[in-house]
Amino acid sequence: MTTDRPRLLERPDPVRRSMFAIGCIAIGAATAGFLAATLRFFVPNVLYEPSRRFDIGPPSGFPPGAVTFLPDRRLYVFNGTDGFYTISSVCTHLGCNVKRGGPGFACPCHGSQFNENGQVVQGPAPKPLAWYSLSLSPHAHLVVDLDHPVTPEFRLRA
């Protein structure tokens, strides 16, 4: 090595070296933090959409043994012999509205078929239609909660 170079460059001072490493880690961590914060920024905290939990009126609005379709909610409401239940009309394939046909449901878009419980009988749909929980409000109205999927055993007696 040449002798006219400053000693510092030849053999880095260990203290300086670790300071540099700490600096790098700190800058890296700060950058990662900012990125994470920015990513989080894109997730809205308030959704100005119809509530995921909503009142669909008194049980008397749904005649016994009949099926009612609520197009705005994309929801079928059943009043069966053993209680109320709801099945989503959103096809689990690509999101078209399924139609009641025969005992079950048929999707117009790519020909998926579901039985009366929403289980896939045929077609590209990979999952059964969603069932959502029903409950009674204090005014004895039916309330659907789209954030609470339930199994096809679900019934609400009202």
Binding site: F42, V43, P44, L47, Y48, E49, R52, P71, D72, R74, H93, L94, G95, C96, N97, P108, C109, H110, G111, P124, A125, P126, L146
Partner: protein, 413 residues
């Protein structure tokens, strides 16, 4: 006095244009080099590059389409309101109220469709001529990203008219995204800005379409073109005959361009060609480019005056049209999704994109580069051609052979 004014004006002119209107070849070369917009070109180019049957000007045409899209898009922004149902109403305004509004909208829509096709063809051309070979491997990767951005821009533009076509195409598209394992639902939520397509979705797609993606595109196009400039077009090497005397206006230089000047190993020597095989970019290349630009713009105008961009009824989330089709360039994907959502919608596309990205690092060496369908590259070309043909066939099936319930129909019946 007059003399001093003339000198003053000349000073102003020179501050803008360093060189007067060039008369000699040497001046033209100097003009090319000293202008921000022209120095994308080398001062001289190989004759090989000028042959229309080598590049078919596909890269140039994609660039021109991008400019047309930027200009028409900016104009449309003056009348467009990204909020439902005003969005749909502003489409109606463009159609019926704004003078030439419909022409601009048609131009924007058809250029976007053309760009998807032309960029795809450009990729095919680059593959079939083996132009992703060293030193252009990374530029191929940039090109693949540009293809994805082109698709992203077309897709995000689709929701903006807020008609039935738009609404259900986005429903289908974002549901395909939701099939991605682990992150699928989150990606869909982020894209929609909620659980359902609504004002938030429209705003997000608007910002993506008008700001984020175009900026990314501009950056990558600059990188892409800059690297073409540095590496030269492939095939220029073929005509290089280093034994011949290198004489000409510019003496051959030993200057080489490494990977952004970072590598120590010289890769392609831009000047290592036979100068006798080269011509000045101005006029030979420049005028051809202007001619192509003119042709593209004329064709776009004719198409936009004759064919109307579709606008269906206003979006109705409760009524699904049957069939609900995505934009045509996704119909191949939708056809695949029809068989299996996860395999067709996520796995196959991901694998194809990954394969395209790593391709130049697997198929290495320079053999057969710069020629159409070089026999040395028969295997690579047949694999690629098969894939390209399959994707075209699937798209054609999805577009013309699928009707209600996605059942098979004969388009002529």
């Amino acid at each position: 006095m007059r003399h001093r004014l003339a000198v003053w004006f000349d000073g102003v002119r020179r501050s803008v244009w360093r060189i007067g209107w060039p008369v000699t070849d040497k001046d033209r070369a100097a003009a090319m080099i000293s202008s921000l917009f022209l120095h994308i070109h080398s001062a001289r180019v190989s004759r090989h590059v000028l042959k229309p049957t080598y590049t078919f000007a596909l890269g140039l045409v994609s660039g021109i389409l991008f400019i047309v899209l930027s200009v028409t898009g900016l104009a449309l922004m003056l009348y467009y309101v990204p909020y439902p149902p005003e969005a749909y109403r502003s489409m109606k305004d463009l159609q019926f109220v704004v003078t030439f509004g419909i022409v601009l909208r048609n131009m924007h829509r058809w250029s976007a469709h053309a760009m998807v096709g032309v960029v795809f063809l450009h990729m095919c051309r680059v593959f079939w001529t083996g132009s992703y070979k060293p030193p252009r491997e990374f530029n191929w990767v940039v090109g693949v990203l540009l293809l994805l951005l082109t698709l992203g821009l077309s897709f995000t533009g689709y929701l903006l008219p807020w008609d039935q076509l738009a609404f259900w195409a986005i429903t289908v598209g974002t549901n395909i995204a939701a099939y991605a394992p682990v992150v699928g639902d989150q990606v869909k939520f982020l894209l929609l800005g909620g659980h359902m397509i609504g004002p938030m979705t429209l705003l997000r797609f608007y910002v993506l379409h008008c700001v984020i993606l175009p900026l990314a595109m501009l950056l990558l196009i600059s990188l892409h073109v800059w690297r073409v400039r540095k590496d030269g077009l492939s095939g220029a090497e073929i005509s290089a005959s280093p034994t011949e005397e290198r004489a000409g206006v510019f003496p051959a230089s030993a200057k080489t361009y490494g990977l952004m000047g970072l590598t120590t190993r010289p890769r392609a020597s831009v000047e290592a060609r036979d100068p006798n095989d080269e011509v000045f970019a101005w006029p030979h290349l420049l005028y051809r480019e202007l001619l192509v630009a003119l042709a593209v713009i004329v064709v776009l105008h004719v198409v936009s005056l004759v064919f109307m961009a579709p606008l269906e009824e206003i979006a109705d989330p409760t009524r699904t049209p049957n069939p609900a089709k995505a934009p045509w360039y996704f119909l191949g994907l939708q056809e695949l999704v029809h068989y299996s959502a996860l395999v067709g919608g996520v796995i196959v596309p991901t694998l194809i994109v990954l394969a395209l990205l790593v391709l130049p690092y697997i198929d290495r060496g320079t053999s057969g580069s710069g020629r159409w369908f070089a026999p040395e590259r028969r295997l690579a070309n047949s694999v690629f051609t098969t894939l390209a043909v399959v994707s075209v066939v699937l798209t054609v099936i999805g577009t013309f052979f699928r009707g209600a319930n996605w059942a098979w129909v004969w388009p002529w019946k």
